[in-house]
Point group: C2
Chain length 260, copies 2
C-alpha cells in the first residue's frame, strides 16, 4: 500500500512543470547509465588491471567454436555479434558498445557461440574467466557487476526480440536508431550524431528485412524530418530529437491515423 503510493507521488514531484524544460526523463536515465558504465570500468581496472587490446574495424575478437576462456569488456568502439547456423544462415544478433561485455555465450558450452567482430577501432579489456571468478571471491562487488551485465544483456535481447516481432519495418528502423543513440548516451558519448558502421545490408540482416527496405525506411525518416543525413555520405545521421523517433514508432503502430 505504501509502496504503491510512494512512487507515484515521487514521480509527480520529480516532474516539476516548466522547471527544467529541456531535460526529459530519458536524458536523466542516460546520464545515470553513463555514470554506472564509468564506475564499472573503473572497478574492473582497479581490481583486475585487465590486459587491453586495440582492435580495428573488421577484426574478430573471438569466433564461434573457439574454446572459451576469457570475457571481454568493451572500453571503446562498437562490435557486432554474428551468429552462424549449421545450414549457413548468418545473422547479426547483437550490437555492443562501451561498457558491454562480450563472451557470455561461451560460458555454458566452454566454447564461444558466435563471432564478435569490431565495426570500428576500439579497445577491449580481456579478463580470464577463471581469474575473474577468483577475484570475485575477495571482491563481491565484482560478482554483482558481472551478474548485472549478464542480466542486462538478457533484458536487452528480449527487447530487441520484441521489436522484431511487433513492429513494422519502418518502426523497426526508427527503433534501431533510437536504441543506437541510447547506447551512445550510455557510453557517455554524444547521441545526437551517430555514424552507422554497418551497410544497409547488415542493418537489414540485423533487423530481419532487406537492404532496400532499410534504405526506404531511412529515406522516409529523413523526409519526415525525424532524422537528417549529415556529412556527404549517408552513414552519418543526425538525430536532433530522440523523442521524435519514439513518436514515429508510435505513429507506425497507430492503425487509422495514417498521416503520411
Amino acid at each position: 500500500m505504501l509502496s504503491a503510493t510512494a512512487p507515484t507521488s515521487f514521480s509527480r514531484a520529480a516532474r516539476a512543470p516548466f522547471a527544467m524544460p529541456a531535460l526529459p526523463a530519458s536524458r536523466l536515465a542516460d546520464q545515470r547509465a553513463s555514470e554506472r558504465t564509468a564506475e564499472t570500468l573503473k572497478l574492473l581496472q582497479d581490481r583486475l588491471a585487465p590486459a587491453r587490446r586495440v582492435v580495428h574495424a573488421g577484426e574478430v575478437v573471438y569466433a564461434a567454436g573457439e574454446r572459451f576462456a576469457t570475457l571481454f569488456i568493451l572500453n571503446s568502439g562498437c562490435f557486432k555479434m554474428v551468429n552462424l547456423a549449421v545450414d549457413g544462415r548468418e545473422q547479426v544478433v547483437g550490437l555492443k558498445f562501451r561498457g558491454d561485455w562480450l563472451g557470455f555465450d561461451g560460458i555454458a558450452g566452454a566454447a564461444y557461440a558466435c563471432d564478435a567482430v569490431a565495426m570500428d577501432t576500439g579497445e577491449v579489456w580481456m579478463v580470464r574467466y577463471d581469474e575473474l571468478l577468483a577475484a570475485c571471491r575477495s571482491c563481491p562487488e565484482l560478482l554483482t557487476v558481472l551478474h548485472e551485465a549478464m542480466s542486462r544483456q538478457i533484458g536487452r535481447e528480449r527487447d530487441s526480440m520484441m521489436s522484431l516481432c511487433t513492429l513494422p519495418a519502418d518502426a523497426r528502423v526508427a527503433e534501431f536508431l533510437r536504441s543506437w543513440a541510447e547506447s551512445l548516451a550510455r557510453s557517455g558519448l554524444r547521441s545526437d550524431q551517430i555514424t552507422l558502421r554497418m551497410t544497409r545490408a547488415e542493418i537489414g540482416n540485423y533487423l530481419g528485412m532487406t537492404l532496400e527496405t532499410v534504405s526506404r525506411a531511412l529515406s522516409k525518416l529523413a523526409r519526415s524530418g525525424v532524422i537528417a543525413f549529415a556529412g556527404k555520405g549517408r552513414r552519418d545521421i543526425r538525430i536532433d530529437d530522440v523523442a521524435a523517433l519514439s513518436a514515429f514508432v508510435q505513429r507506425c503502430l497507430a492503425p487509422a491515423s495514417a498521416l503520411q
Copy 2:
C-alpha cells in the same frame, strides 16, 4: 593444424555407418542435456533445500515491476515469459521448461522485467538471490551452475532471434515445434508427443505472425506428414521424426525446389 584435423577424423569415426541406425547425434545430445538437468537440480536441492511451490496454469510467479529478490528454478511444468512495452504491446519472449531458471532479468534493475506465467501445473523452486550468492561462496559449483544457466539463456534467445529473422513463417513454426521437442528431451520427458499449452494466437505472438498463419502452417505440416494431430483436439501433436522437422525447415529455405 592438429586442431583442424583432429575433429574431422573424430566425427568421421563417431559416425559409424549402419552401426547404430536409430540413434542420431541429436538424441545423444538430448540425453546428455537431460542428465545435466537432473544433476543440476540435485545439486540445488542438496545445497539449498529450496522452498517449493506448486503452480497451476495461468498463475503468475512474478510480474514485471515487482521488486527482485528471488530466482526460480523450474522442476516441472512449462512457463511463458511475457514482455510488456510502455505503449501496451505485449509479447511472449520466451518459453521455459524443467531445469530452466526464471528471474535473471530482474538482477540488473532490482525489479523483474517481464511476467512469468505458468502454462501448466508444475513446481518451481525458489532461491533467494542473496542466499544463493552466500551459498556460492562455500560451494563454487553452484556459481558455475548459475553462470551456465545464464549463458545458456543468452545463447538460446539468440537462436530464437535468428529463427525470427531468417526463417519464413512455415519454417518458423516447424522450428518452434522442434525446439519444444528438444526442450522436452532436455527435461527428460518423451519428446515424440507434445501438448501445446498455447493458443494459436499465443504461438503467433511468440513467433511474430498471426494466428491464421500459425494455423495454416500447422495444417501444412500435418498434410506433409511431418507432424500429426493426436487426440481429438488439435493441441496434441505427434512428432514421429524430429529430423523431418529440420528437413522441412531446410526445404523452406531452398529457393528453387518448391516441391509442395
